[in-house]
Symmetry: C2
Subunit: 396 residues, 2 copies
DNA sequence: TTGGTTAGTTCAATTAATTTACTAATTCAG
DNA sequence: CTGAATTAGTAAATTAATTGAACTAACCAA
């Protein structure tokens, strides 16, 4: 997918070693049970190099050996796996209506899940709550004794690409908060790396990174909740999460789908969020801003008016997906967010529009798989944990 | 702009050397007249490494030394420049209505420009013509004796991201052509690398690569001509041209701006190209498909109907730019393509819409510069030449 | 002229990958 | 059961890149 790779930054021997260690870990992550010989042939490294890199990772508890892998003729190789027992990755997702925490092992297993139903208030109070929770959860037996690689935090809004500052989160009325600093000031005691990212970016990265089997060459995650956002992972050899110069990459909720349409809280008219989003659907159904959408829709699911509202919103989601596809042409799309809980009444029209309106070239090419995550409660937090791992690998 | 860099591919010592050589060249390209000491401090390489890399590049004719650069106190450093005299980069742009060729030096100076007004017919005939032209132009004194680094070819349609195949070019009715093979079979005698890319991708890369001064951190090029396409360059340390899994990244002409709108030749309704593109404007003005748009509009520029058509098309372009900005959030946008020749009657409404409809976050952040290229005749060909250089650097 | 400062080179030292030769474990044929 | 063939992995010497320290070079100012 990527071409014209023209490095502007230099590296030393240590960088090279880091690069190769990261490549070995990536390979084992993608192909659990791979042998040293498998890794050597796929990465183009020599047997000797792979041997020494693997030995280092075994010593540090990143990898562990498994059974012998018979390969027809010849000596069988020794299976290698990510060692699930020595480390822990923490991810925290500051949602519009709750705080969600996850502790993951290196393979992405959830060791602890925690859902805190209190909606965020001020940044200080919320970070205090988060610090307390994390300080407590660290003691739990599921993670006790593990080396903590770090904490990734996600927020429902764009994050500055250069410094860990949440620029704007309209749905919780925060702006320009250096969240990681606030968190440290709130008394968090946790070693390792600290990361802050947008919720959709983190979710996209997690879906890519912890993907079972060979991951897609690129991936877009669409987060459909109170607002609409998206995150992109692109690049085969060097997967990246581009964020845009202002951290706004993927803020598709404010692409214009209906010039001259309804007014949006962003000041424009006809934004996607005026057609499909938690607040647009609540408004269209005449519900209160804080109404439990899933419950209300569940109660009235038989009413044709409700069906019609969901179908229209779903169609708008389909247009959004199609436009995003024409713009980014990802290998996979993943749909998540709280709106997915409204079920097929919403998703079916979206998928139908997407399928029906592909142009000739898209239709002729291979089918683009679309994954629906009905329950994405921990998707973003898990993605933040994945980012911690990707970062920690470079620091080993 | 880019985070969560998690390399999946490995490297050897030679890769490291290539990386550093590329970084040195990039630095001199960005900052002509830089000294070895400048490069060392910016790249974090040691003086010794920079010294030896630079010596190698001097020997091979990639760099040359200039005057002494006094730096206040201390010994002045020796200015370094890309050597403009030893190499040549070839770029060819297969347009909808003509063939355009450029020979560039390493700094992007045009040594030869050639415009062939014949519209493409079959791939074979067109490549025959191109091969003949190139074989002739190679003899010209402007480039005689220079080492040829290679040829980049651009086409008006999506190119497969893995193999150099033009997948579909509706405006010249080609599909699934291995253009570089056809070109070689047509008798081209030219050494060096061969590249094929989409016209907008190449233009975007060229605008980035040959940018005077520090290039923007990311850049989108919008090509507004017979159809509408775009190309993206992203990434600060490792600039990339993402192409999408099917080579369709940036095919924004078929994003839906008006659900249920006019039928587009792609089979959908309400595509951007039904509102703003050479053929949409010709249709709206009641002109023939092959009419000279610039001339016709020039003749009737006083007619209010013409003004209105251009204003409406311009506004659609503005929506497209805004949506693209919300999706990709590039540091710079560049507008090119033959429609730009229609002048302010088209571009002014586009820019006005873009400015007026930025949402709060965009407005608050720094102004996004938009560059208009009124005459983009050689922009794509020049971009293809830039891609040749980026590739050749890795092969030195 | 001398001391201070920055630029650039030289060369031994370091470090990571490689090469070559080796050992190890398995299958298969006889 | 034995030995040849095959593949996996290790060990040690080698190669090739960056590095560090010591050096020379060029300039300024007092």
């Amino acid at each position: 997918m990527v071409s014209a790779f023209s490095p502007q930054s230099a590296g030393d021997l240590n960088f090279l070693k880091t690069l190769n260690r990261s490549a070995v870990i990536s390979h084992v992550r993608r192909y659990p049970g791979a042998t040293r010989a498998d890794i050597a042939s796929r990465t183009q490294l020599t047997k000797a190099t792979v041997g020494s890199v693997v030995q280092g990772l075994l010593d540090q508890g990143w990898l562990c050996e498994g059974e012998l892998q018979p390969r027809g003729e010849g000596r069988p190789g020794r299976a290698l796996y990510l060692d699930d027992t020595h480390h822990v990755l923490w991810g925290a997702d500051i949602g519009v209506k709750s705080l969600r925490l996850v502790a993951c092992s290196l393979t992405g297993q959830h060791l602890i899940e925690h859902h805190d139903a209190e909606a965020p208030t001020t940044p200080e109070a919320t970070m205090k709550r988060l610090a307390e929770l994390l300080n407590q959860l660290q003691q739990r037996p599921e993670v006790a004794g593990r080396e903590i690689l770090g904490l990734g935090v996600t927020a429902p809004g764009p994050v500055s690409p250069l410094i860990p500052v949440l620029r704007l989160a309209p749905n919780i009325r925060w702006s320009d908060v250096a969240l990681l600093d606030v968190l440290d000031e709130a008394g968090l005691t946790m070693p390792g790396v600290r990361l802050l990212d947008n919720e959709a970016n983190a979710a996209a990265f997690g879906e890519f990174y912890f993907h079972a089997g060979t991951p897609p060459e690129s991936l877009v995650y669409i987060s459909a909740g109170t607002g609409i956002g998206s995150g992109l992972v692109t690049g085969d050899e060097y997967p990246l999460v581009p964020r845009g110069v202002q951290g706004l990459l993927g803020e598709i909720g404010h692409t214009v789908l209906q010039p001259g349409g309804l007014y949006c809280h962003c000041g424009n008219r006809g934004c996607a969020e005026t057609l499909v989003s938690g607040w647009a659907i609540r408004a269209a159904l005449g519900l209160d801003e804080n109404a439990d959408l899933e419950k209300e829709v569940g109660l009235k699911s038989h009413e044709p008016g409700v069906q019609h509202v969901l179908a229209r919103a779903g169609e708008a989601l389909g247009v959004l997906m199609l436009n995003l596809h024409h713009t980014l042409n990802p290998a996979t799309m993943v749909l998540g967010g709280s709106l997915l809980r409204l079920g097929e009444a919403l998703t079916q029209p979206a998928l139908a529009y997407f399928e029906a309106h592909q142009n000739d070239l898209l239709r002729e090419s291979q089918h683009i798989p679309i994954k629906l995550i009905e329950d994405s409660t921990y998707t973003a937090a898990r993605g933040a944990a994945a980012q911690v791992m990707a970062k920690a690998v470079l620091d080993v």
